[in-house]
């Protein structure tokens, strides 16, 4: 991955020194292991800090929203899909955006790695082509990269960028073999009471920090529904009804827009699996309206469109 990182740096330096863009938005190495973070390079020197590792889990499309000037964004499949979404939703113009495309090898879930070493502190993770060398206080272990992918990366259908002005490295194969429909499947087999219990179990650790919402490039409303006070749609307590209201409505607001980038789950400090909700919606949108968000510039979002023959057997 270091070879790709080097090429990203070169591209960024070139773009910045030629004055083609004002900023290159990419990832930089975090101060703790497995926590690469969104980085903004304004000068060729700053571009030296850009990196590309197995832990580039934030969705950089988020930072293009309401950002003036010309920007270049390092984009793998999901990020590019969100950029397409934003262009389709008229959040910025295609001309203002320069996409540095990268094939995503699938990002690694730091929680899955951490779970191998319960209660222990990982101090360093070294990237190898197919492996990660995990080091900590008194232990060292080489693990197979693909076994620790984020669950959304496993079910990814678009590893290559949908749009790119420049491709770093080669385009790679699509898919990791997982099927997103399997995420919602276990719930779909349950009876209603069990489903509700399962929802509570999934959300029980939620601390209402809204990191999932704030990390999501879909959530750019000026005032989010949970913040609305007159009327107040959602209480602010830890009560399960309030927590459920937040997550249900948040998931619904992603309908027809969610690209399953996994930024919400990666951002969550409590490791909540909110994809169980969004993947169900992704599936419905695909099955009912044959739509995959962010795959094509100019596509009309499915929720602002209708066809006379849309399914309506649920309406009496």
């Amino acid at each position: 991955m270091e070879a790709i990182a080097q090429k990203i740096r070169e591209a960024a330096k070139r773009l910045l020194s030629e004055g083609k863009v004002d900023v290159v938005i990419g990832y930089a190495k975090g101060s703790v292991p497995m926590r690469e973070y969104p980085y903004f390079a304004y000068t060729p020197e700053e571009a030296e800090n850009l990196t590309w590792t197995s832990f580039c889990c934030n969705n950089l499309a988020l930072y293009t929203i309401r950002r003036p000037g010309r920007m270049a964004v390092v984009a793998q499949g999901c990020v590019s899909r969100n950029l397409v979404n934003l262009i389709n939703e008229n959040q910025f113009k295609r001309e203002d955006l320069y996409v540095i495309g990268v094939n995503s090898p699938g990002m690694v879930d730091r929680r899955k790695v951490q779970a191998l070493f319960p209660g222990k502190t990982i101090t360093e993770v070294i990237e190898e082509p197919e492996h990660l060398l995990v080091k900590g206080q008194g232990f060292e272990q080489r693990i197979e990269r693909k076994k620790f992918l984020r669950s959304n990366c496993l079910t990814c259908v678009q590893r290559n960028p949908v749009i790119s002005d420049e491709m770093i490295g080669e385009k790679g194969p699509e898919g990791h073999g997982g099927n997103i429909d399997n995420v919602a499947a276990p719930w779909e087999k349950l009876i209603p009471a069990e489903r509700w219990a399962e929802l509570q179990e999934t959300l029980k650790d939620c601390i209402r920090c809204y990191a999932c919402r704030d990390a999501c490039p879909l959530c750019y409303c000026h005032v989010c529904f949970v913040d609305e006070a007159q009327p107040q749609w959602c209480g602010k307590t830890q009560d399960e009804a309030d927590v459920a209201t937040f997550h249900i409505l948040r998931a619904f607001h992603c309908a027809g827009r969610c690209t399953d980038c996994g930024a919400c789950e990666s951002a969550c400090p409590q490791g909540i699996k909110m994809r169980r909700l969004t993947s169900k919606i992704e599936k419905d949108i695909r099955e009912l309206y044959g739509y995959r968000p962010g795959m094509e510039i100019g596509a009309t979002p499915p929720m602002s469109l209708f066809r006379p023959n849309d399914p309506q057997d649920f309406i009496k």
Binding site: A241, T245, I248, L249, F252
Partner: protein, 69 residues
């Protein structure tokens, strides 16, 4: 629960001003009898309906929600 004859559900009925609300009106004028469990909320169009309303209704304690255009 279903054998509980005492239970009288509260149902929030969101009715479109131009369709079902008119029908409700007509039903009233025609003296048609229907169960008294619904609480009618008139909305200017079914397009005004928001998922927030449905969850808000459940949060307020209704047992069912009926949206009719």
């Amino acid at each position: 629960m279903s054998d509980n004859a005492e239970f009288s559900p509260r149902i929030a009925a969101f009715l479109c001003n131009w369709c079902s609300y008119g029908a409700a009106d007509l039903a009233g004028v025609s003296r048609l009898q229907y169960p008294p469990n619904i609480q009618v909320i008139r909305i200017p169009c079914t397009g005004r309906m928001s998922p927030k309303f449905i969850l808000a209704a459940f949060r307020k304690g209704v047992d069912g929600v009926w949206v009719s255009g």
